[in-house]
């Protein structure tokens, strides 16, 4: 196979899933900058190992590489530092919404909801966060999620169930704080 046809096939089957890759990486790393690094490295690997991709689902194949890239290089270095940072960001948002004008109340309420949902999701343990992100935000099937993570379908289901419960708890907890 020549490099040209390889590039073309790669552009047709893997490159279109860039948004999926970035969204997953962004939710795993919780940082734009790190997400870009993870995605870039994942694409490097994906191109390198593209010969091993024998058709099928280009998106799950790419997402599995994104996930592995994150777990291999990035997780340890960043897992501690982020949660506190996130809380600080949220306080200033709360001040803004507290003083919001009446006409803007609905828009603010909606932004407030979005902020609370994002915050709850960011605080979730990573193994639940990733299944929820793939299921709810990227509409992956249980089979696809199982393939990305390398776990049985039954485990996908139980993680989603526990994840939703945890999410409800975090959301309620954040609601009390606000």
């Amino acid at each position: 196979m020549t490099d040209l046809t390889k590039s073309q096939r790669f552009e047709a089957t893997v490159l279109p899933h860039l948004n999926s890759a970035f969204n997953l990486a962004r939710w795993l790393t919780r940082s734009d900058h790190d997400a870009e690094d993870v995605v870039q490295e994942a694409y490097l690997k994906a191109f390198k190992y593209f010969e091993r991709f024998h058709g099928g689902d280009g998106r799950t194949w790419l997402l599995a590489i994104v996930r592995n890239t994150f777990y291999t290089h990035y997780r340890q270095s960043q897992e501690h530092s982020r949660s506190e940072q996130f809380d600080e960001d949220c306080h200033s948002m709360e001040d803004i919404s507290a003083h919001g004008a009446k006409t803007a109340e609905n828009a603010l309420q909606r932004r407030d909801d979005e902020r609370m949902v994002n915050r709850a999701l960011e605080k979730m343990p990573i193994e639940f966060r990733e299944v929820l992100v793939m299921r709810e935000l990227d509409d992956l099937s249980y089979r696809q999620i199982a393939d990305v993570i390398g776990i049985p379908i039954g485990t996908v289901m139980s993680r989603l169930a526990r994840g939703r419960k945890l999410f409800a708890g975090l959301l309620a907890h954040n609601g009390q704080e606000a």
Binding site: D3, F10, E41, N68, G150, S158, F167, A168
Partner: protein
């Protein structure tokens, strides 16, 4: 269908992942059970809330441009030139760590051919992942080493040492026949805190020094003992894999 079964299947029901039979069973139950109906509504709304309100982060345009620019454009683009093309944007971002990573990549990928050991490690990672994906960890599911060991009789031309390490936190849960590197091998399955460990065993032709490595997030450990190759792999902590290997080495040398 009873409430317990409904509770178990509810996530899959909400996600439309059930077969018609189960689907109808739950439909019928929900019509008659207010408790399960409430639970169903609560779970469904949570999922819907994430779908509707959580941010979907799309890739910034400059990232796509950078990725496209990095792909080789002609047949003349040899792998070495390709890594140079990749390296430029990384240097540009000025992240020392990222550059070191890419340098490591180009070294690992283009200067050295993967050794037989590396190819084997790669094969073990894919086998491990496959064994989890198809939910087919064990052909013989048993926590009793005296059931698992004889199961291999007649299936392999060697007798793998089978020991239980439950007392050290690594219960044996089963075994299966597998193929690695062109050989039939024994795959023994252990657990550590709900994480599966695959242990591959087959006769060794040489004596290898124990080594550990991490690949795709999985921790691998390899050693030889009593004329056998041992490869352990798991997604649990690296220290767990090492403790497991240590416990196993002791147990194999002192069979009960």
């Amino acid at each position: 269908m009873d409430c317990k079964k409904v509770a178990e299947l509810l996530p899959a029901y909400i996600d439309q992942e059930l077969g018609v039979g189960e689907l109808m069973g739950i439909d019928e139950h929900l019509q008659n059970c207010p408790d399960c109906r409430r639970e169903h509504a609560a779970q469904r709304d949570l999922g819907a809330q994430i779908k509707a309100r959580a941010s979907y982060f799309t890739a910034p345009p400059h990232l796509e441009a950078r990725l496209r620019a990095s792909l080789p454009k002609s047949n003349a683009a040899a792998p070495r030139r390709w890594t140079m093309q990749w390296r430029a944007p990384w240097l540009h971002t000025g992240i020392a760590m990222a550059c070191a990573l890419v340098a490591a990549w180009s070294l690992g990928l283009y200067v050295m051919q993967p050794s037989a050991q590396e190819r084997l490690a790669e094969e073990i990672v894919s086998d491990h992942v496959r064994s989890l994906q198809v939910d087919h960890l064990s052909d013989v599911a048993s926590t009793d080493q005296h059931t698992v060991k004889p199961w291999f009789n007649g299936k392999l031309d060697f007798a793998p040492p089978v020991v239980d390490l439950a007392t050290q936190g690594f219960p044996l849960v089963g075994g299966r026949l597998d193929y690695l590197d062109g050989h039939a091998v024994a795959a023994l399955v252990y657990h550590v805190r709900q994480h599966p460990i695959n242990l591959y065993v087959w006769p060794a032709s040489s004596h290898d020094v124990a080594s550990t490595q991490t690949r795709n997030g999985y921790h691998l450990m390899h050693w030889t003992a009593q004329g056998m190759n041992f490869w352990a792999i798991s997604d649990c902590a690296a220290s767990d894999v090492e403790r497991f290997a240590q416990g196993l080495r002791v147990a194999v040398n002192e069979p009960t």
